[in-house]
């Protein structure tokens, strides 16, 4: 089987605001928050109360369904408050960070066996970085995955190249790969065909695959679908390359330092570039000096699937991008029939196809209202998985679990439908639909 894969269907959004390829600065914050909603399907059981002192790496909450799964504090400090919503639902644990960070010390060095590795990851909370397919949740430590997929690509709009993000962390990454490859018989690392960073191209102890093509060629779903698609009953664990480096750092130093290289991207930033940031950091102070003036939406994550956190929000747990794009304002007079130069469409109904290389200052406008499905074949052009997107979406809509299963619901996560959602002329909310349907499938099957 060839290790070189060409993905033809997909779309690279022509969006302005790409970050400069250098890491410059650190997102310093005095307040951090970890939100249970960042973890799909996790019901938190608190392990701290307001006023407690925690070290970075101390448990904040565990998963009610499996108390071995811990979410630990990214920083040391004092638990300032527990944010709660309706019915006292826990929205977030807010930690006031110390100026001098202290890390709880875990065993350092590479674990000896698979069991050791799992226990060690569980104890430190780094297990939260291991996601499982199907369902796209934190992995269950009891499962026996047929493979572990490490994603060494970043094709989301405006993402930082892995070569930039890994610079200086090669040792961590290599060590992380050693740990991760203990978890399963098969460890796959997927990288871009154009990748140059030796840390990725010369990675040892893994099965290396190269992918070429537009987004979503860099998503784990595509990699799994091309290399070893998930059948019913099978489990695959997935990790992001930056998280592998975090695990490597943990192995090397014994400290769980959840720091990533994060892209500050989008036209809302005065100087789009990469910075380092610790998960959960409060954005309010930092953004004040980085954002241009104007009405921008601040997204933790990419424009495709990130969360709208607001200017005073917190970086989400898994984010490696912080995007700011203009909010759409005002109505468009006869906007559906006038040529509307300057707007972007993947179709040729507007004139953006005349300038295929032009990038646009895309804003958050929906450009139309929700409608019934009418046009067919639009999703297929941006959906490279060996799955029929429209029938699967309709099965999800109808909550037809059997059909969903037959049509490949085990192989997808909500983010896979992001591009379909972008191009949909009926403005359907596909990611939300898919998320609810996959959660329903999980509840029914477990």
């Amino acid at each position: 089987m060839s290790n070189f894969h060409i993905v033809r269907k997909g779309l690279d959004l022509p969006i302005l605001g790409a970050p400069e390829a250098l890491v410059d600065g650190h997102l310093s914050a005095s307040v951090y928050a970890v939100r249970p909603s960042d973890f799909r399907g996790l019901v938190p059981k608190l392990a701290v109360k307001e006023g407690d002192r925690v070290l970075a790496g101390d448990v904040l909450f565990t998963d009610k369904a499996d108390p071995r799964i811990r979410v630990t504090s990214p920083v040391s400090g004092e638990v300032a408050r527990i944010e709660r919503g309706d019915k006292r639902k826990i929205l977030g644990v807010v930690v006031l960070a110390d100026s001098q960070q202290e890390y709880r010390k875990f065993t350092s060095g590479t674990p000896a066996s698979r069991e050791d590795a799992i226990n060690w990851l569980l104890e430190s909370g780094a297990w939260s970085l291991v996601e499982s397919r199907p369902y796209g949740r934190i992995a269950s430590p009891d499962a026996e995955p047929k493979a572990v997929f490490v994603n060494g690509m970043a094709t989301e709009p405006l993402a930082v190249a892995p070569a930039v993000a890994l610079a200086g962390r090669e040792e961590d990454f290599a060590m992380g790969l050693q740990v991760v490859s203990l978890l399963s018989k098969r460890t796959v690392l997927s990288i871009a065909a154009s990748e140059t960073a030796p840390a990725l191209t010369k990675a040892s102890g893994v099965e290396l695959h190269q992918f070429k093509g537009p987004h979503p060629s860099g998503t784990t779903s595509v990699h799994i679908n091309q290399i070893s698609p998930i059948n019913k009953g099978e489990v695959v664990w997935t990790l992001n390359y930056q998280d592998v480096a975090v695990i490597g750092h943990l192995a090397r130093t014994g400290s769980f330092k959840l720091e990533r290289v994060v892209a500050l991207c989008g036209t809302g930033f005065a100087k789009p570039r990469a910075i380092t940031a610790v998960a959960g950091a409060n954005l309010e102070n930092y953004l004040g000096s980085e954002l241009k003036s104007g009405n921008f939406r601040v997204i933790s994550g990419s424009v495709l699937s990130g969360a709208n956190v607001g200017k005073a929000g917190y970086l989400t747990y898994y984010a490696s991008q912080l995007t700011a794009i203009p909010e759409g304002e005002g109505t468009d007079f006869f906007g559906w029939v006038l040529p509307s130069m300057g707007k972007w469409s993947v179709s040729r109904t507007l004139f953006s196809w005349l300038t295929p290389n032009k990038k646009f200052d895309l804003n958050t406008k929906q450009h139309g209202e929700d409608r019934a499905f009418v046009v067919t074949g639009v999703y297929d052009k941006v959906f490279p998985l060996d799955i029929l997107p429209m029938p699967l979406i309709k099965a999800m809509w109808a909550k037809d679990l059997e059909k969903m299963e037959q049509l490949g619901a085990y192989e997808v996560v909500p983010e896979d439908f992001a591009l379909c959602e972008v191009v949909c002329p009926s403005k359907q909310e596909l990611q939300k639909l898919a998320g609810d349907a996959i959660d329903l499938l999980y509840t029914e099957m477990n």
Binding site: I15, P229, E234, R297, I299, V303, L304, G306, N308, T323, I325, E327, G328, T331, D332, F333, F334, G335, W336, V337, K343, S345, V346, S347, R348, T349, S352, L362, N363, T364, K365, Q366, H367, G368, E369, A372, F373, V374, V375, T376, G377, D380, L388, M390, P391, Q406, L407, G408, F417, L419, E421, V422, V423, P425, S426, K427, E429, L430, Q431, K432
Partner: protein
Amino acid sequence: MKLFQNLFDATRPAVTTGKLKGLYPLHNALETMFFVPNHNSHSGAHVRDAIDMKRTMITVIFALVPALLFGMFNAGYQHYKALGLLIQGDLLTQFFTLSNFMFGALKIVPMITVTYIAGLAIEIYFAYRNKHAVNEGFLVSGILIPLIMPIDIPLWMVAVSTAFAVLFGKEVFGGTGMNVLNPALTARAFAFFAYPTYMSGDKIWVNTTPEQGAQIVDGYSGATALGQLATSGQTNYSAWDAFWGFVPGSIGETSTFAILLGAGFLIYIGVGSWKIMLSTVLGGLTMGLIFNSAADSMEPGALQNYMSLPYYQHLMFGGFAFGAVFMATDPVSAAHTERGKWIYGFLVGLLSILIRVFNPAYPEGVMLAILLMNVFAPLIDHYVVQANISKRLKRLKLQQS
């Protein structure tokens, strides 16, 4: 601009909370027509493509404009030709005249107006009843329905057919996006079976209302090419006349050339499915070729004559081109899967020619072929989807063994 915005703002309270609550869907439809609303994405992807349903639909209407304009000229041309009132000159100077156009426009614009009023009234009522916004689907149907009617059909029949199509072709299934049959063809089929004398025969395709000092030309026949073919197997019209469209027929169907312009536009813009168009043409050609090769072994007669009509000429006569480009491609009633579209289109083409040649009662087979395949499209899709499912099951079995 400001004026309209103020107008909508001023009337909004009346339709949202006031006495005229029932008119909210109408108000909303009009307002969103004037102004694409300032909705921002609120879940999922934060940026969205600038296309929406209104733009998709208006693109199809643009593609219909050549056929519509040609139909207006042709209605006048056929009328004055029948009365012997054509000016001297070559065909083009006879055809593209203001009086031809005005004659056609005065006939066709009222038909379009009546269709829109009848159809949109029902759409708005259902939007109100089911509490959803008015869908844009009817924008296209409202132009399509007049284009596939004969020029002389009374306006009330157009209205009744439209109402039937919208009610029983669309709303009973749940509205736009849910219908099984193509609404425009449902309207035509209804008219065809309910008022056969106005929908078939030799007299209806050309308006022959006498004008001062003019009588119908001696020996004039208003039969369409297909009508002639069905009775005698031969036609007076040349294939070139049929290609350019200087022949009697339903308003928009006669000019293969004007339809091709629309088809090129739809394919280039990407709104119409080229797969369906191409496969329909291939299906039609295939059936034509089968007939051509079988014709030699037939007994001489009308049927044998018809079967030996050169296969490619089937594409130019009657409504084949119009059906392939504008009717079969309706995304809701066609097959939804990409592979299914090939099968669906091919069978539409095949059946069109089959019905046309073998059933003289229905000289135009395209309408029935498309409606029939509309019914079968979900079945085709079912098998295409099933193939994907079986592939996955096979993979699973392979894994387990």
